[in-house]
Amino acid sequence: MLTTFIPLGVTLVAAPLLPGLINKTKAAFAGRQGPPLFQLYFDLLKLLKKGAVYSRVTTWIFRAGPIVSLASVIVAALFVPLAGHTVFSFSGDVIAFAYLLGLGRFFTVLAALDTGSSFEGMGASREVTFSIFAEPTLFIIFVILARVTDSLSLSRMLTQVPLFGMPSMAGLLALIVFSLFVVCLAENSRIPVDDPATHLELTMIHEVMVLDHGGPDLAFILYGASIKLFVMIAILAHLVFPMQGGSPVQTGLVFGSLMALVTIVIGIVESAMARLRMIRVPRLLMAACMIAFFAMIISLR
């Protein structure tokens, strides 16, 4: 019984590790030492110890934003298999998954608009605009997977993908992985879509939305972002190398290293690319969407 909850536990505990890994990779490419691997854990602890400051113009929506967005990613994480093991799964849960991500985004955007600040409004606007492209892409990918695996449950879709190891499916797999990778970058505010390290409000997307959050609320937001990154990387890892069964320790190790690999790839991309101009971002996302669409046409054939 308790063992079913192990994937959840792993997610909750290991999620803040990934941003640290990305930063380490970037530092290595830049020839720096960089922040420690566990930096985010320290940040979260520090933030939790602080008090809170709320803007006078905000309402309860502002305070609910971080909680709801964190809760939605945590619940969404329940459906995502880790090394073939899922906490909770039923037919149709992909739709619940996508909607939970959407709900989290919705509340973050609402909380940003609730501050009344133009900067945060602009960030919200950008976030929503990019999701116009990212969400259909995600759905199209799910349609392809549902079609290929004949299932509507995320765990079965990811663990039983017959794509891997079949040469005829290699092209399809490449298309899916590429577009999902782009979605992953966009959803998690990574370069080239967004730059988590920038501090100029006019160019930020996600960071600017949470400018007014501080203390435990910011901790919730950062933690939520890391879980989201973890979840998306887990999905990518499963797509690249589906696994099921086997001894938990062995597959866990393999899967862990796979996830680390994907994370490092993200770090490499971040080091190698510059942030795109805001106007160009939709084009990238559109391209990902079209590629996914193309893949869907292929899979439906």
């Binding site: 113009v57 905000t58 809760a71 039923f90 605009t129």
Partner: protein
């Protein structure tokens, strides 16, 4: 006014949390409308039962997690200072409520991206000279579907209808003509 609206919202919430309880009831109403046989209806209920109970469970888990996080934040903030301040202004202190981030600002980016579809109207008077007297900027994106598709369609059909309305012109002889033509047409069609 709050009570009826609130009770309806509450009912929606309850139906979302335990859809399994409601589905057979609503399903029976739906079965009365659709020409489904009783057997079909039973299978539909049986097949959708687990799915609905899972959706309900999911909603409950979600609410539980929200409540838990709320309690955690409360515990963390216990005994600490919760201050009130103004919104982060990024160094500019002259912000007045007039400088609001409006709905059209919010939509500006996607409207720009889909400008070929969005029919955006911009009316701007830029400031001129060193001491500009005034400046105006106004942008709107009229509802394209309504203005370009629905309204012309409705107007077209209303115009068409008003030509048809001339059939009722008050001349009783022509009314009788309709009858006559109709009866002859029926004879040719059916006899």
């Amino acid at each position: 006014m709050i009570v009826p609206m609130g009770s309806m919202a509450g009912m929606c919430l309850v139906m979302g949390l335990v859809p399994v309880r409601f589905f057979p009831v609503l399903g029976r109403a739906a079965a009365a409308a659709a020409p489904l046989s009783h057997m079909d209806f039973q299978t539909v209920i049986e097949n959708s039962g687990p799915f609905l109970s899972n959706v309900g469970l999911l909603s409950c888990i979600f609410l539980l997690v929200v409540a838990l996080l709320f309690l955690i934040r409360r515990a963390v903030l216990l005994g600490k200072e919760v201050a009130q301040s103004s919104t982060w202004r990024c160094g500019y202190s002259g912000v007045t409520p007039r400088a609001q981030y409006t709905a059209s600002s919010f939509a500006q980016f996607p409207v720009f991206l889909f400008r070929s579809l969005a029919d955006r109207r911009v009316e701007s008077h830029k400031p001129k000279g060193y001491f500009p007297a005034g400046a105006r900027f106004r942008s709107s994106a009229p509802d394209l579907v309504l203005n370009r598709i629905v309204s012309p369609l409705v107007e077209q059909s209303l115009a068409w209808v008003s030509t048809l309305r001339r059939l009722q012109h008050g001349k009783v002889q022509l009314y009788l003509c309709y009858m006559f033509v109709f009866i002859v047409a029926l004879f040719f069609w059916k006899l």
